[in-house]
Symmetry: C3
Subunit: 432 residues, 3 copies
């Protein structure tokens, strides 16, 4: 149970807040690069800041203030040009550094004043990596954008899935260090929703949590496992500060503001042996719905169940009324680390998991359970026969709403027909 002041520290991310300062020291994935094959600019809110993300005709991305500094009009309605984006109201042109390149009337009528030289608007550096657009909101110099090993895996079909979840980011990230919820929410409740039967799967016997360079790992032994199991030996990764690495996919919980979170998933699926060598031309990005057509949270898919749970905790979970228990040791550990790091930030001490040495930023390995299930080459026949693998090939189980065009791309890449999702009816990582 926290005090209200502690809860505020964890949940408030706007400019000037302690958590806002800390999170701004890390690169955040904010969109999919391929979105800009269709659009030129879009409004985006991150960490409480209203911005416009655009791709100009030279192919450069820019992330600048949403409102033109002139008369506050909306730059997301602007026109991209060879370099930069032009306000649609009076034609001022800005580049990705926030510099004003043109003020058409002033340049014509009063060129001697050269007034554009004095103008600079808010801008943030942007990088594209593995299909994602990343932005950095902190002080210069920016750290390096992490080059996780997974981003270099070959022969895989990658897709990016994004949703806007109407609740605070921190309750989402607490879910990244919560082994027990798999048993109850995804297995037992998921099963209940599908079958209406009261049948419970294998129980957790023991959990443990450890810190490492890039975050935390959580470890568990269930009734059908033992201490030799990957799940105990290696553990899964709660990635610092706002990610989750599950082997074949990453999830990030990027604060839109204090009351909304951008859920960003990067999902890799190894193509079957028959499809090798496979090189992906475009990494598709799609936006998954959180609510169904009558406004109820979708509960059929893995992450939709997570979303439903997060939202169910309230817009900003009231941690002054919680009652933590033995299963929550990881959450306690993580919160403490955040409190410490906010302190470190204000004391100008080094921060956790920042990467500054380029020679070390090469295909960084993360702890990974059941790695063979993710990266090993298998024939279609073998995949179809393996009940812990096939469900992940025949439909996108993590989120509802995969568009047909992505299902088709996936199907063509994998050589396996996409079917309607019918729930994951086997434990996800059974030893059998």
């Amino acid at each position: 149970m926290l005090t209200q002041a502690q809860n505020d520290l964890l949940t408030q991310v706007g400019p000037g807040t302690p958590m806002g300062h800390l999170l701004r020291c890390y690169w955040m994935p904010i969109a999919g690069a391929s979105e800009f094959d269709e659009i030129q600019a879009k409004p985006i809110k991150i960490l409480g800041e209203e911005l416009v993300l655009y791709k100009d005709l030279s192919g450069q991305f820019g992330l600048i203030d949403r409102n033109c500094v002139h008369r506050r009009s909306d730059l997301s309605a602007g026109m991209v040009e060879n370099h930069g984006i032009r306000c649609h109201y009076h034609g001022w042109l800005f580049n990705a550094k926030g510099e004003c390149l043109e003020q058409p009337y002033e340049d014509t009528a009063h060129p001697e004043a050269h007034s554009k030289a004095k103008i600079k608007i808010k801008s943030y550096p942007v990088e594209v990596k593995s299909g994602l657009i990343w932005a950095y909101f902190g002080p210069s110099p920016a750290p390096l954008l992490a080059d996780w090993e997974a981003f270099s895996w070959t022969d895989g079909f990658v897709q990016i899935v994004i949703s806007s979840v109407p609740c605070n980011w921190f309750q989402c990230q607490e879910n990244s260090i919560d082994p027990i919820h798999f048993e109850w929410m995804h297995e037992n409740w998921g099963n209940r929703l599908r079958t209406q039967k009261i049948e419970f799967g294998v129980k957790h016997l023991k959990v443990d949590f450890k810190e490492f360079e890039y975050g935390f790992t959580y470890h568990r032994i269930k009734e059908d496992g033992d201490e030799n199991d990957d799940a105990w030996q290696i553990g899964r990764v709660c990635l610092w500060p706002n990610g989750f690495f599950l082997g074949e996919h990453f999830e990030w919980r990027v604060p839109i503001d204090d009351e909304n979170t951008l859920s960003v998933t990067w999902k890799y699926t190894r193509v079957p042996k028959e499809m090798e060598p496979y090189e992906q031309k475009v990494i598709p990005t799609w936006y998954g719905p959180v609510f169904d057509e009558i406004g109820k949270p979708i509960n059929t898919h893995v992450m939709n169940q997570d979303f439903l749970a997060w939202m169910g905790q309230g817009t900003i979970a009231d941690r002054t009324k919680e009652q933590l228990s033995a299963s929550d040791k990881g959450i306690v550990l993580m919160r403490k680390k955040f409190f410490d790091e906010m302190q470190n930030y204000s004391n100008k001490k080094p921060l956790k998991a920042l990467i500054s040495d380029a020679s070390l930023n090469h295909q960084i390995k993360l702890p990974m359970v059941y790695g063979h299930l993710v990266t090993q080459s298998r024939t279609i026949e073998e995949i179809k026969n393996q009940k812990t693998l096939y469900p992940f090939y025949k439909s996108y189980v993590f989120q509802a709403g995969q568009p047909n065009w992505v299902a088709k791309m996936s199907s063509q890449a994998l050589g396996i027909e996409v079917q309607d999702f019918d729930g994951i009816v086997v434990p996800r990582h059974s030893k059998k």
Copy 2:
């Protein structure tokens, strides 16, 4: 005209407010029992408190805190079991007393700690009576749930109709002691809406208001009546603290919070002689819309006209700007009683209309005008010939939106075909 402080006293119902204290001393109807033939649990907000109402597999209803005490997740998304409801996030199981019966991981990993024994969440007693689910939110011991005589009438078809009206409860209840609005809103305005003609019905000549054990009665003489009329001799019942009894139906105005009211109607219709004896197997519950498909308040049916009037007074009617008049004596009387009773509550004095003696709580009679129209046995032919009765048999005149399945049940019970509602074109209780 009230002061703002007085208006706040009447309208604020949250925990700790004077009116909140007072209303919590009375049982409130909050749902229909038959709703739970289809669903297992639902979120419900009453008196500003967020709760979950469920029926477990043993048939017991429970009304407990909506948020799990563990991590604040939404228990309305939980799983009911033989006894109680289980949180979908980490599997904690709670019963109707708010006791924690299971904490699966803690019970397995740390059984010696027996930590569940220390956990108790908010819970309220629930009773089922005459198709309604009633809840009690006050201090122990609870009073008895009133056994109104109407709940024992035989040979009747009962339906429960519920709506959520977006305004404060008190302006709804003021309507329970307002005879003049029948003449103007339901008769003259209702007629105007249907016919576009400026024609007014018979006028009220005199009104009077009296207090009795279970509330107030209001009395009236119209141009076509006299002092021998039931309407003057007996009067209609404004039921304390938040009900209205009109003979063949009850209405309750249950505060959802300060800005929303649950309108709950219990409506009895005597079956014709040909259908006797009739025993109702299930009392249907249906939810009536307040707004039409383009968002305008529905104005065709009796209670929808009331809803429209209540909402028209503002979310919380501003009684600092009203100008009460001769017709409002009942409202003044009722407000005074509420101010007195709030005082009585804080002085720990006995409160009005609480029933504690079980021997007296048996088919309690309420004043009832034109009782013969409600309970007397008539043939279908007689009903069809009586223009003050037939409209109530051929359609549900009180609220728009009766579902087909309820209309069908009604039609089968009454032996009279349901027709489209075309307005009540005769005064409802004319002497002729």
Copy 3:
């Protein structure tokens, strides 16, 4: 750049605010008279005040408090009668002066009290002129309602177009003194939206701004013009305090409240020679949408582009963060005048542009560029051959959503078939 206090002064219009006081000294167009061929009463909010606008059966318009003084019910749900509007709840009848003409129950039961005599509710004078309903919210005596010359033009088809734009009125009115936005928003951006090509039209070389009796004029020279051009010699009219006169149409930006503006357009189109003499029987009024069916601001038509720009500046543009430039001299001039006039109001000095001498209020001429394009008689053939005229005849280019029945009226009046809008692809007032 303004201080927050200055921005508040310009943008807050509720009762008691300095700008609220000032604007209330001027007649405001609030609806179209022909709306009341279909309806009898409607709720309307102007300058932050909730009102009901009705037309009684004698043809008189009334604008009175929305809430009945008795119990606060909504008079917009009331019944109009020969004189005045009657509350639907208890039948109190009010006339256009806010006097209570009847209290049915009180009049019947207690006629001696004559309590209605003491009752008066808020009411505002209303006048109808050229199809518009105008209201005056200020102190008595009211000034004269301006009789602009355009209201007397003959042989024209007039239509009134109204939209509710969710942003503060002042950023809308700043657009009335902003020549440069035509070049960029309507020409260059409009062209970009239609053609996707980066092609810019002729530039502004010089702008100028002057005050005159009824507002300001703005003057400009573009690359294809010179100082002999009407656009420099005469200029266009930013009408004090909240209008815009463009020759063939007026636009007013009427504050609904601080965060919403009623855009009211009065548009005249000269009928071709073949249709003369033409006398218009009814001036149609239609309400144009601001957003499309998925909630995005419409950007195809001239004023929809304006709406989009205004809304893009934020609900209330934050002028503490703007950076005005050479093109904004008119805006600076206008703001200064508003600050001065608010001061004049509080010092009880005469205010700008108030008309009190009836002998002078006759077909008042306003500066008007290219007047020949507006009022001169031409054959259909001539119109079709003139590329600066024909687009305005074959579709309503200013706002999306003209209903079919208006298009049909227009088409019949003009003798020119209405076609789908395909954008204005020529500069609107080219010299060539």
